[in-house]
């Protein structure tokens, strides 16, 4: 982990009508750091992560990604930042009318500095091989299992060689074995591609395996921040309760 800050959020607030989802959240992410964000459903985790790529615009606050204040940017400028930030959606969000290969090629072919077709082919093969799914190239997303879809979706974001990865509940909806495989893949990819990441998850095992630091969100604000060890052994039983699953397992 380095000292450079790649994401800096200050006093972020967001409401939808009368529903205040984020009251006041500030945090930062250092280069090559892996931050897990935990919290109950509706605590604003997904809203927070979507704000980082401009899918949701906060009502107020400051949001710097890779040194740029994305709240002041127009659509074209923010696209430049987006190409350096990978986002793994909860459901994978693979383009269902395209084969796996076309899914992988799509962001590269639409890139302003589009590589040659042979370079694109090599990148697709290399990245698919890294997630262990080279043989699925000609398949459509509907022919893949939930775990495979997540791995392909991860490969599709990694093919852009992002500096930051955002994972929105990467193991939700998967069985325990596949969840563990995805967590290990996240770990492998961070080592392979030298990326910083923010992982939104309820999965305690995933947090323990992949994160350097954990933030717990609740009631629209940050309830606690620390390493996995610090928070899972917290004196506050409410904070400890977020980790009870793993305590029970142990």
């Amino acid at each position: 982990m380095k000292d450079n800050i790649v994401v800096e959020a200050e006093n972020i607030k967001k409401s939808f009508g009368d529903n205040v989802v984020i009251k006041d959240i500030s945090f930062n992410l250092k280069e090559l750091e892996h931050l897990a964000v935990m919290g109950r459903s509706g605590s604003g985790k997904s809203v927070l992560i979507k704000s980082l790529v401009g899918l949701i615009v906060p009502d107020s606050g400051k949001l710097n990604v890779l040194g740029e204040n994305i709240l002041d940017m127009d659509d074209d400028d923010i696209d430049v930042i987006r190409r350096q930030v990978g986002y793994l959606f909860q459901g994978g969000a693979l383009y269902d009318s395209m084969t796996v290969e076309r899914n992988m090629k799509f962001p590269l072919r639409r890139h302003p500095d589009k590589p040659s077709e042979s370079e694109i082919k090599d990148l697709v093969d290399e990245t698919l091989e890294n997630v262990g799914l080279l043989e699925t190239k000609k398949k459509y997303p509907s022919e893949l299992s939930g775990g495979m879809k997540k791995r392909i979706a991860l490969a599709r974001t990694l093919i852009m060689r992002p500096k930051i990865m955002l994972y929105d509940e990467p193991t939700t909806g998967l069985d325990m074995i596949t969840s563990a495989e995805i967590s290990e893949l996240i770990l492998k990819m961070r080592e392979e591609y030298d990326i910083s990441s923010i992982i939104i998850t309820h999965d305690v095992s995933c947090v323990e395996l992949t994160s350097d630091r954990v933030i717990i969100l609740g009631e629209g604000t940050s309830l606690a921040e620390g390493t996995f060890e610090e928070l899972s052994n917290s004196e506050d039983k409410d904070i400890r309760s977020y980790f009870t699953m793993i305590h029970k397992k142990k």
Partner: protein, 263 residues
Amino acid sequence: MKVPFSVKKIIYVHLVEFFDKVGQIVHFSGRFFKDLFTPPFEWQEILNQTFTLGYKSFPLIGVTAFIVGTVFTMQSYPTMASLGATSWIPTMISISIVREIGPLITALIFAGKVGSGIGAELGSMKVTEQIDAMKVSGTKPINYLVVTRVIATSLAVPLLVIYTDLISFMGSYFALSREKDITLSLYLNQVLNSLDFQDVIPSIFKSFVFGFAIGMVSCYQGFYADKGTKGVGKAANTSVVISSFLIFLIDLIMVQIVNFLFN
């Protein structure tokens, strides 16, 4: 009389929703026209969409056009016969079909079949976060999904209108030849001789505008579909309803413009 607070609040909420929608439409249209002239240009995708959307509509539009031509002739024959003007039927049919019925029938069928399909397709992409996935990878979904489809619908409708006109003429000849001794070449000769520039060009231009409106409305509805399967259904349904209404509205405006320019 004192207006209850809840009524004020309801009006306020509706006004906010209305202006929010207007803002959304302006942003969408602005983005569309910007992306229309911004690379990358997806020629292959435009060709694919034009072929797929047009090809999909061929059988339904063909059958409907034939029936319309047949029925129109069968309905008008007795009146024309009583006036001793059956020889004018090909002329009447050609002008009414080329100027009005062909573009209108084609656009309405196209809105029902293709407009709802586009609304549902993009709506489902929105619900499953595929559009968001395109956004976050910086691949400009409006450029790829909307521009290609709107160009495709704008090209497909005029082509289908020409097809509709031809098939309607065949339907009309089928009905007329049962009542009257007329050869196909004489019939087509009369049909084509009665048409001129001011019948054909405005009709093609009108069809282009119909196609553009269907594409824009359907893409907008799909692009901003509400979450959930209900949102997809609503996007498909609203695409058809608004497109159909706009087709009549555009028709009305275009008739005024054509009359002003040519008469």
